[in-house]
């Protein structure tokens, strides 16, 4: 299996570079470039020309790509032309936050989606099934942006103390400031932030974005799971298990669910990159400091180095998602071997 994984990863490198090349070419077609940041009536034209030359923006796109490629070979993804920070640093700051949000959303998608799907399937055409089907379709058809705003508006009315933006609450910010201020002044302070206090604060901030990001996808997974379970539940081996007197719970969990997992795993694998890119609007609405905000900013500011790095990251997520799905097939179905 190790050789299989290595082979797949090596094969992915040209694909990621192709994505970067294509994106560079596309960005060359888009009007304006990163020097637009400097264009104001007080900035002499020759200075703007110098800035463009300093950043290599006066070169054809393929020359810019080639220079960038040589730097990438040395592990340097370049400097953001809008933020003037290394791209790796920007991604390093944002990616963990997005992974936290996406990871939690994946958990919701997996647990909620599969649970609803299985219940719908085993209670096919019942009132429960009908209600869950309607709710699933409703959630699936809701635009994430709208759902997020509705969540904020409704929750803030019902439960005003529940946090609706950012990652850190005012109480923690206040304590952090008190501690930092004491450090700045060389004083001591009895203000402390407990580890659990911080975790709980982050978890509270995570709830609404996770619901907004995960619910629609969970509804989709529920539909796939339902149809997959319905297919498996009619198989002979399930009937045999039941005939042997195996408990229904065991039949569903061991025989039905495991065999129904294969298509669901495929869907989950494909969802991984979507969770990073799809978090764009959710991060914007909830002020979540993740990759989504960086991606949008890089497009609007024509920050090609950051944009290309974000796109490459998404490509890597697609590849890893597919690879993870392929590997999980092996766990779900022992007949599948990766050589």
């Amino acid at each position: 299996m190790f050789r299989y994984v290595v082979r797949r990863l090596l094969g992915a490198i040209p694909m990621v570079l192709l994505v970067a090349l294509g994106l560079r070419a596309l960005m060359a077609l888009v009007p304006g470039d990163a020097s637009a940041l400097w264009i104001n009536p007080d900035m002499p034209v020759d200075q703007i020309a110098k800035i463009r030359a300093d950043f290599g923006l006066d070169q054809p796109w393929y020359v810019q790509f080639w220079r960038w490629f040589l730097n990438v070979l040395q592990g340097d993804l370049g400097m953001s032309l809008a933020q003037f920070k290394p791209v790796t640093q920007i991604i390093g700051d944002a990616l963990p936050n997005t992974l936290l949000l996406s990871g939690a959303s994946m958990l919701v998608i997996f647990v909620v989606g599969m649970t609803i799907g299985v219940i719908s399937a085993i209670k096919q055409y019942s009132l429960t099934d009908n209600v869950l089907t309607v709710v699933s379709f409703f959630l699936y058809s809701m635009p994430g942006f709208w759902l997020a705003l509705m969540l904020i508006l409704v929750v803030s009315e019902l439960w005003p103390s529940w946090p609706s933006s950012g990652m850190v609450g005012n109480e923690i910010l206040d304590k952090v400031a008190a501690i930092e201020e004491a450090k700045l002044l060389g004083e001591t302070t009895d203000v402390r932030i407990g580890v659990f206090e911080k975790w709980i604060d982050t978890a509270q901030h995570l709830v609404m974005p996770v619901i907004a990001l995960g619910l629609a996808s969970a509804a989709s997974v529920a539909r796939y799971t339902r149809s997959s379970v319905l297919e498996v539940v009619r198989q002979d081996y399930v009937r045999t298990a039941r005939a042997k007197g195996v408990a229904e719970r065991k039949v569903i969990l061991r025989h039905v669910l495991r065999n129904a997992l294969l298509p669901v795993i495929t869907i989950l694998g494909l969802m991984m990159p979507f969770l990073v890119s799809g978090a764009v609007l959710i991060e914007y609405v909830f002020g979540w400091p993740g990759m989504g905000q960086e991606l949008v900013g890089s497009v609007t500011q024509r920050d090609t180095p950051l944009l290309v790095a974000c796109a490459m990251l998404l490509s890597v997520m697609v590849i890893l998602g597919n690879l993870a799905a392929d590997l999980l097939y092996g766990f779900a179905d022992p007949r599948i071997r990766h050589d």
Partner: protein, 588 residues
């Protein structure tokens, strides 16, 4: 001390209308008498206040010292790009660093004029021909990096040297472009510095140009000049001498600054901390404001004003007119090349209806008709007796008929030489006010037989197209400068000046002459006459259909007292804002 900081951003001659600006009129609301209650609360709290909080805080002797404390939480729509003023580009950044690294002079806005007061400087003086400005600096302003170094004349000179250096990539070229390139800033001694100008011009503008937010030389010189834009002083911390000190910056999340008890350039603030929280989405900011998780945000949209007032917890402050919306007619397009055609288009557009439809809510109008790119806030430059073109579709049709535009094929649209009077009106994406105005204009022009197709373009593309004249007509906007320099918008393009911001390709020899003269005129009355004449000519020519100046409304939680924003800065006089002790929210 009732002073305000004049950020370097305000000196930008004009910029696409995206930023913040202010006003000074309390917007009332059901409980606008908050100050009375506040004073009462303040007195009670003061009597029970802990005097140890005041000792060593630098607040000794200030009227509300016993109420000092609490945190002001402000929502920003985006992160700051830099804490180093000479390379900072964003309004979000300047809102923060103006409090940390304030300009050398303080300024105020009274009766339609900007007034400058010494800040970092004890005093200033001019030579006889007004080309030399000498500052005498205070000798007890220290950099807040605990280096023990005093802010001195060499710091100022070095900052100007850096701004002028192309390697630094400073967008603040307006601060140096009219200084004598051979000897721009001369250090006379440790606390006296002299600015040498090439020629005398508007005194306020000269003071503003010499009043840059300076950073410490002893730290700046540690960095290679080309790397200043990305150095620690730009991206991780700030060192200044202002009323606040930098504390913490979590990228894309928050920036925290704390009161500087050693501030000498401004009074030591009552508020202990300011936290800037980054919340990009407007609706989310509004919810946070309602819940009290933030105390202030950039502006409340007009449609939401009544609701915000109904909460009872927030007071609204109206800001002055800084935002102009206009329709630019591309004069390189034959449709708009003739002055009469442009005048006809203005006559056909019902500007009053636009203002009533998109800027009037709850019986109050948040805009006024415009006739120029000079904000009406500047009283000296107003042209009060100008005759504005009325809404007169019949006259518009007559003018167009005179140019040969008639509906010869009876299809409801004007045509000439077989071509219909039809064009695309573009605006930028994400601005509902402008897109609504476009629809109203489309309706008005249809009534006189002109077919308008509407289009929205992404921000950078929109600007790129405007500057390259790759459009027919555009609804755009300016955030107006308070220091007049119309050369970029109305000056003719030359071989050396391609005038990126002259979107309409406007060219008028008399206007060029007036601009050249106005920019070199020191006498205020004479300068005002020049700009007034220029405004009249441009209005007659109608390269723009000037639509309206829009005010905006800043919300602040009512527990904060004595907030007096003005047209220069949202955070004007923030050092004087206080909260009665009994109403403090911050526990630490």
């Amino acid at each position: 001390m009732n002073s305000i900081r004049l950020s370097c951003r305000h000196l930008t001659s004009a910029a696409l209308a995206l930023g913040l600006c202010l006003g000074s009129i309390g917007c009332g609301g059901p409980e606008s008498g908050g100050n009375d209650g506040g004073n009462a609360g303040g007195k009670n709290a003061a009597s029970g206040g802990n005097s140890s909080d005041v000792e060593g805080s630098g607040l000794e002797g200030r009227p509300h010292a016993a109420d000092a404390g609490d945190t002001l939480t402000i929502a920003l729509i985006g992160d700051a790009d830099s804490m180093l003023p000479m390379v900072g580009q964003s309004v979000n950044g300047s809102m923060v660093y103006d409090l940390l690294v304030p300009p050398a002079t303080t300024s105020d806005f009274q009766d339609g004029r900007i007034l400058f007061n010494p800040g970092l400087a004890k005093s200033y003086s001019w030579n006889d021909d007004h080309t030399e400005l000498t500052y005498e600096l205070k000798d007890d302003c220290y950099w807040d990096d605990d280096s023990g170094k005093v802010v001195n004349a060499e710091d100022i000179r070095y900052n100007y040297e850096l701004i002028a250096d192309p390697d630094v990539k400073s967008p603040r070229q307006n601060h140096v472009e009219r200084l004598d390139p051979k000897n721009p800033v001369e250090v006379l001694d440790e606390f006296r510095v002299r600015f040498h100008f090439q020629y005398a011009y508007n005194e306020q503008t000269m003071l503003a140009h010499a009043g840059f937010n300076i950073s410490p030389k002893h730290l700046l010189e540690k960095y290679d000049r080309a790397s200043l834009i990305s150095c620690d002083l730009s991206k991780k911390r700030a060192v200044g001498h202002g009323p606040f000190r930098f504390l913490k910056w979590d990228p894309k999340q928050s920036i925290t600054i704390v009161r500087n008890p050693k501030s000498k350039t401004y009074a030591v603030p009552y508020v202990k901390r300011i936290v800037f929280k980054i919340i990009p989405e407007y609706q989310t900011r509004l919810v946070e404001l309602k819940k009290g998780d933030i105390d202030m945000m950039d502006a409340v949209q007009e449609k939401d004003i009544e609701e915000v007032l109904s909460w009872g917890s927030v007071k609204l402050y109206e800001r002055g007119y800084r935002f102009l919306d206009y329709v630019a007619w591309n004069m390189q397009n034959p449709l708009f090349a003739e002055r009469d055609a442009r005048r006809a288009l203005t006559l056909a557009i019902d500007i009053e209806r636009i203002i009533k439809t998109i800027l009037t809510f709850g019986g109050k109008t948040y805009g006024t008709k415009a006739y120029s790119t000079f904000t009406p806030e500047l009283s000296d430059y107003r042209v009060d007796d100008i005759t504005l073109l009325p809404h007169d579709p019949a006259q518009a049709k007559t003018l167009l008929a005179g140019l040969g535009w008639k509906d010869t094929d009876n299809d409801g649209f004007l045509d000439k030489d077989g071509k219909r009077f039809e064009f695309v009106l573009v605006t930028n994406q994400g601005n509902p006010r402008r897109s609504d105005a476009c629809v109203l204009i489309q309706e008005d022009l249809k009534k006189i037989g002109i077919k308008v197709n509407l289009e929205q373009r992404e921000g950078v593309t929109f600007f790129d197209d405007l500057s390259k004249k790759n459009y027919e007509a555009a609804l755009a906007g300016w955030s107006a400068s308070l220091f007049p320099d119309p050369s970029d918008v109305w000056g003719s393009a030359t071989e050396t000046e391609n005038r990126l911001f002259n979107f309409t390709a406007y060219s008028n020899a008399r206007v060029d002459e007036l601009i050249a003269k106005g920019l070199k005129t020191k006498d205020g009355a004479e300068e005002a006459k020049i700009w007034q004449e220029m405004q009249r000519i441009i209005y007659e020519d109608q390269p723009y259909t000037f639509l309206y100046w829009k005010t905006s409304t800043v919300p602040l939680h009512k527990r904060f007292r004595d907030y007096k924003p003005n047209v220069l800065s949202v955070l004007h006089g923030i050092e004087n804002v206080w909260v009665p002790k009994a109403e403090h929210k911050s526990k630490h």
